[in-house]
């Protein structure tokens, strides 16, 4: 049987960006009965870029990744990697490394044998295989676990070995299917940072699927928010947060207040203050303005137009719930030091900061 896999280099991959390839998903559609998991998804990923797909359960993000991996067939559409159409290429010939949500180490193999597996299939000589496996285990800082079996390792260690295994074959694209979701919070943050460090080091184009917005915002160059099988917005983490294109994105990523306002000529009259509006906002009339808690300043004011409901200490910050005299509930972010100064029933003034906000037509 001919070895159809691309060659694996003798040495470690060149560090830094430049090794990655471009990935294009064009008008992908995939249905399960009456459910449209992918509904014309189009996505371009630049060489070496780290893109995260974020969205609620059932939005199609995992289906998109599995179609790219070749583990699912699209009903229609096109998948291109490095300019080549690979839509009909089987998953074992796609040259992609994948880390799964479930622990996927082969239980009858040690960590080293797991990492060597892809190289074995590529008929790499034994000495080179061992050297490469050692190198990869060193990259994920698990050299001392090389002879352990999966059941002898923690969940975090297993996922790191899975990452080493995926990278050992020098894949064109690295696919991460919620690899952190089974881990506890502390390990999740550690491994998240480690994944980003390693990705920057090897420069492989990476698609990361997660439902955890903090994870997505922390590691990705760009984050795509998906809804009902399509992308709502694809942007840098900062833009996604600060300049949401749709109400869904504004509400899915971070916390958002929905406050009534009147809109005119690109500005909203909100809580008595003029707030600039983001492109795509409603231009005239009665609107709901989506504004972040940190974009609202709070000041104690006996003559203020809102009443404090609760003030909570959250560690590095604080939050304050207030109700305006018009009956709207407002969430504002406050300093953790000032939490104790607000009591339920206190009158306050709420002043929106001049950060651009999104306005949509009021129901």
């Amino acid at each position: 049987m001919a070895n159809t896999h691309p060659p694996v280099s003798d040495t470690a991959p060149e560090p830094g960006p430049g090794r990655g390839v471009a990935v294009t998903l064009s008008d992908l559609r995939r249905s399960y009965g009456s459910v449209h998991a992918l509904d014309g998804l189009t996505l371009d990923i630049a060489p070496g870029e780290f893109v995260a797909l974020l969205g609620p359960s059932g939005c199609g993000k995992t289906t998109a990744l599995r179609v790219l991996a070749g583990l699912e067939d699209a009903d229609s559409g096109r998948v291109e990697v490095a300019g080549k159409d690979i839509t009909a290429v089987p998953s074992n010939a796609r040259d992609m490394g994948m880390v799964f949500q479930a622990y996927s180490l082969f239980p009858h193999m040690t960590a080293r044998q797991n990492v060597e597996f892809g190289l074995l299939l590529r008929r790499i000589p034994s000495a080179r295989r061992r050297a490469r496996a050692a190198e990869m285990l060193d990259l994920v800082e698990l050299s001392d676990q090389a002879d352990r079996y999966a059941h002898q390792m923690s969940g975090g260690q297993q996922q790191r070995v899975a990452l080493a295994r995926a990278l050992a074959i020098e894949p064109q694209v690295l696919l991460l299917d919620e690899p952190l979701s089974a881990l506890d919070a502390k390990v999740r943050v550690q491994l998240r940072d480690e994944i980003r460090r390693i990705q920057l080091e090897v420069g492989t184009t990476t698609l990361f699927v997660t439902h955890d917005q903090e994870e997505a915002l922390a590691v990705a160059d760009r984050v795509g928010v998906m809804r009902a099988g399509n992308l709502e917005q694809l942007a840098s983490p900062h833009d996604l947060y600060a300049r949401p294109a749709t109400p869904f994105v504004a509400e899915f990523v971070g916390l958002t207040n929905r406050l009534r306002a009147t809109v005119e000529r690109g500005y909203a009259n909100l809580l008595g203050t003029s707030v600039p509006l983001l492109p795509g906002s409603l231009q005239h009339g009665a609107a709901l303005v989506l504004i972040r808690p940190e974009s609202i300043e709070v000041a104690a004011d006996p003559g203020g137009l809102a009443t404090v409901v609760t003030a909570s200490f959250l560690g590095s910050t604080g939050s304050l719930h207030a109700v305006t005299d018009a009956g709207e509930t407002v969430l504002a972010q406050i300093d953790n030091d000032s939490v104790a100064t607000y009591n339920p029933g206190d009158r306050v003034t709420l002043v929106p900061r001049p950060n651009p906000a999104l306005a949509v037509a009021a129901d």
């Binding site: 583990l71 799964f100 996927s104």
Partner: protein
């Protein structure tokens, strides 16, 4: 404390009595067989029957039906286990990977032979075997097709337990993403992880094939049990010795397989 200790003692005694009775239940017929096969014609004991049984030249010359039956059963064991594994392991794996909706149907089909008496199977298989004989000849080995049907329920249960103990889908997809074709997925990933289940299924099949009489007899084919039955008509002592030897062989196979399974227990996923 005293009450608890007394209760524990009573439970221990009860356990030992139950185990002892069970041992007696199994051992008595076997001891009876040993006693019968070591009787000397004029009284006393002799190992003449057993010496004859293991003297292959004598068996070859004087008891050709036994030799034919042993060889036929050995062939049937190998062929049945091979066909069963080749059919069942990939099918069950594929159903788990791609057709999970069919799992219950496959289970039903595999368990169906449990509810069908062998005589009914023979009636159903008779016309099929007329064609088998026409195309493949009269060899007893072709009984393996019918035996595969007979062992399906037991083999299915054993393999299903093994496959349920691992995440077949994720492991297969991980292997595929690393470049493995389907044969490599089966050979390098799935089979090593269901090794104990495959051994269990194989053993159950071996035991069933070695003990099968009805189908072979009704189809007038040779196997060990048919041979023992024929032998019993002219040398009941040797026939009993052969039956006992077959039982002991089955026990040895069972112990050997348990040992192999236990040897891998330290790092085998099915036991995790």
């Amino acid at each position: 404390m005293k009450l608890q200790a007394a209760r524990r003692r009573r439970q221990t005694v009860f356990r030992r009595v139950v185990v002892g009775l069970l041992c007696l239940f199994f051992a008595l017929p076997l001891l009876g067989m040993v006693e019968f096969t070591t009787r000397a014609p004029g009284g006393g004991r002799t190992l003449a029957t057993w010496t004859t049984l293991f003297d292959f030249n004598v068996i070859d010359a004087d008891y050709p039906e036994l030799k034919t039956g042993v060889l036929a059963s050995a062939g049937l064991v190998l062929l049945t286990v091979a066909i069963m594994l080749v059919m069942l392991v990939p099918t069950m794996t594929w159903v788990r990977l791609r057709l999970p909706g069919l799992r219950r149907t496959v289970e039903f089909v595999c368990l169906l032979p449990l509810t069908i008496p062998a005589i009914v199977l023979v009636v159903g298989l008779a016309p099929v075997y007329a064609w088998v004989a026409y195309f493949l000849g009269e060899s007893s080995l072709w009984l393996a097709f019918a035996y595969v049907v007979l062992v399906l329920p037991y083999a299915y249960r054993a393999l299903d337990a093994g496959l349920s103990a691992i995440d077949v889908k994720t492991l297969a997809e991980a292997a595929r993403s690393l470049g493995a074709g389907w044969p490599a997925v089966m050979w390098r990933i799935i089979l090593p992880n269901v090794r104990t289940a495959v051994l269990s299924a194989s053993f159950l099949s071996v035991a069933l094939v070695l003990g099968e009489f009805t189908i072979a007899n009704l189809f007038s084919r040779d196997n060990l049990q048919v041979a023992i039955n024929q032998l019993n008509k002219r040398d009941s002592s040797l026939a009993t010795a052969a039956a006992l030897a077959a039982l002991i062989l089955a026990f040895i196979v069972l112990f050997a397989m348990s040992f192999v399974g236990a040897g891998r227990r330290s790092h085998h996923p099915e036991e995790n």
